[in-house]
Structures are given as structure tokens and as C-alpha cells.
Amino acid sequence: MSLLANTTILLGKELRTEFRSRELLTTTIVFILIVLVLFSFTFDPLSEEARRFGSGLLWLAFLFAASLMLQPCFLREQTNDTLSALRLSVSDPFAIFLAKLAANTLFLLLTELLLLPVFAMMYNVPVLPVLHWLVLVFFLGSLGISIVGTALSAISAQARMRELLLPLLLLPLLTPILVASTEVTGALLDRAPYVQWKGMGFLAVFDLVFLTTLWLFGEYLLEE
């Protein structure tokens, strides 16, 4: 069975499991909402500042949400030792990672897009004219978050205090995503919006670098 075929099958399983219960999606959406509301108390959301700080807060909210959402990723494979069943069934263990990170990217992207109109309303920022660019930066950023988050979730699942550990490991590593995504998003939400190609390119490079690292070292993350 080829890598692509296995990945597709596993991705189907991840999606089916999540859409059946929708646990991850609902909790993530509610969490981001809470963060957005809480942030609004720290400055005047309708002021000029909101435009400048808005994109940063949005991505901070995404990062925090992701660091919680990614925890069950490999933990749930421990309950019935289904991870062993997967390892026995697939020819290339990288398929397991690819499927999970694809699913995580999709879930993150979905929550981000669902919350975008809420954010736009709350902070009075126009998003429609630049919607397609926003989708692109959301995708590139979420992909980076998922690649690193999926890998680290495999690590934290094997340690103590895993609930606290994953954000601890993940957030410093994702600093470049925060920086670049905030810049690009900020430029898109500016009074005179423009596309920060350097930032987009940077995100793509980040994604490629870590995907390659995961490909090289992934199988060791799954070792017993």
C-alpha cells in the first residue's frame, strides 16, 4: 500500500472520528471565542489600536487553542494501543503522521474560518475584500502549527504532565509562525491592504523545513 493511499485511508478515519463527536472542534471554537472576548478587555477594541493589534491577538488565540487541541492527537491512540495496530498495518509509518497533521490542519483551518466573521465583527475589521489571501495565510500558518504540533504531541504523550508539557514545548518552537503570520495578516487587515509575500514565503519555508524534519525522524517518535 502506497504512502498516499495509506494516508488517505487514515485521514478518512481521523475525519470520521472527529465529525462523529465534534469534541475537538467545539471545544477549540469556544476556547478561541473566550480568548477573543478576554483580549477585548485589555484595550479598546474599536480604536485604531485594534487594527494594529488585532492580527497578533488572533494568532495568539489560534496558537493557544492549537496547543490544547493537539493534545489528544496521540494520547487517544494509547487508550487501546491502537497505535500498535496502525504500526503493524501501514507500510510507511510516515503515513500516520501525514494523516494526523492533515486532519489537524483541516480542523484548525475550519475553526479559524468559522471565527473570522466573529473576529471581524468584534474588532470592526473588514475581511471580505482580502478573504482569499486570509485563507492562504491561515492555511500556511495552520499547516506549520500542525506539523510541529503533531510531532510534539507524539513526544508529550510519552511524558508526565503532558497537558502542561505540550504548550511548553510547542509555543517557543512556533515563534516564527506567530511572527510571520501576524505580519501577513496585519498587512491584509490594514487600511491599505497588501500582500506580504516575504511573510507568506517564510511560512512556506517553515512548513517545508519541519515537514522534512518530521519525515526524516518521524518513525523514531513512534518507537516503543
Binding site: 510541529v148 510531532a151 510534539l152 513526544i155 510519552q158 511524558a159 508526565r160 504532565m161 508539557l165 511548553l168 514545548l169 517557543p172 518552537l173 515563534t175 516564527p176 511572527v179 510571520a180 505580519e183 516575504k198 511573510g199 517564510f202 519555508v205 517553515f206 523545513v209 519541519f210 524534519t213 525522524f217 523514531y220 517518535l221 518507537e223
Partner: protein, 224 residues
Amino acid sequence: MKNVLFVAVVVLLLGAGAYAALFIAPTDAKQGLIYRILFLHVASAWTGLTAFFISFIANVLYVWRRQPKWDWLGVSAAETGLVFTTVVLVTGPIWAHPVWGIWWTWDARLTSTFVLWLLYISYLLLRTLIEEPDRRALLSALFGIFAFVDVPLVFGSIRWWRTQHPQPIIMGEPGSGLDPLMYKVLFFMWFAMLALMALLLRQRYLLEAMRGDVETMRRQWEVA
């Protein structure tokens, strides 16, 4: 005997470096005496990065070879690197305050160094949360690899961000207007610091090797 000799050499080198930094390097027109902390600050930064690089190589070698000595080297180099990085973070404000009147300037390099520091603190924290020695060695090596791959991305992204949002004050760029004599002193200081790094690294490595042996003996005793 060899140890005493090593220490003596390091002390001599550091002493020479300090002397050079204080008396040989020419005076800076603008900053006066305080600029001399640059020699400590920058040399520590370079040494810290060197140590983290050594840790990275050790991590890769451990994943490949699985010999405990690479794990010992990896953690020793990471801790040593952290020591030098802490020096950078401490000398930063000491330098900034008399010159610019503020403690922290969010200068690109200093901020990146802070993230670097957090990354390796996480590395050490991860190690305390995994009990089984082989697991601990493998998982922390893998995280160490991800962390080091992230380092250029962190520095790159923050630097790019700083060009988007230029600070009113910028920390003394060694690249801009350093006298050739200053360079010589800086490189000598770095050499002295590398010697100190080697000394600390060796001591820490020997300690870790002993710990490894003790832990093995303790576990064997527990089983018996």
C-alpha cells in the same frame, strides 16, 4: 593533574581576554566604558550557539547510534549552552540601561536569544518528565533536533519583523562600525569562552556519565 592544567589554561585565557577587553580595545566615542561589555555579551552568544550546535550533533548521533554517551553529551552541551545564553540575557540589560535608559530594548537578536533560552529550558524540562532512561534519551534527542532546526527560523523571522517595525533604538550592531582591533579582541574573547565551554562541558559530561551508571546500578538493585 590534567584537570588542574585545563582549569589553569582556561583561567589564563579568560584573564587575558578580560584584560584585552578592558585595556587593549580602543575606547568607543559614544558609549564610553560600558560598551566593553560587548566582548562578554557577543562572545557568550556565539559560545552558546556553539554549544547548542554540539548538542544538536549529539542528538542526531544518539538517534542514529543509540549509545548513551551521545545522550550525555547532548544534555551537557544543552546545559552549558544555557549558561552562556543566560549570560547574554543578563548582560543585555546591564548594557542597555546606562546607554539607553531602558532595561530591555526588544532588539531582534536579544529577543531571539530569549526564545532560544526558552527552547532549551523546555528541552531540560522534558527530560525531567520522562523516567525511563532510554525513552528520555530518545525523545529529548528528537525534541533537541526540532529545536535546533527552529533556531535559524526564529532568528530570521524576528530579524525580518524588526525591519518591518524599526525600533527607535537599536542595540550596538557589531557589524556596524567596529574597529578592526575590537574584532581581534572579540575573537580572542570568543576563543577564551570556547575554552571555558569545553571545561564546563567536560565536567558536566563526566557527571552525567556517573549519574547514568548510578541509575543503572540502582535499577538493577531494585529488581533483585
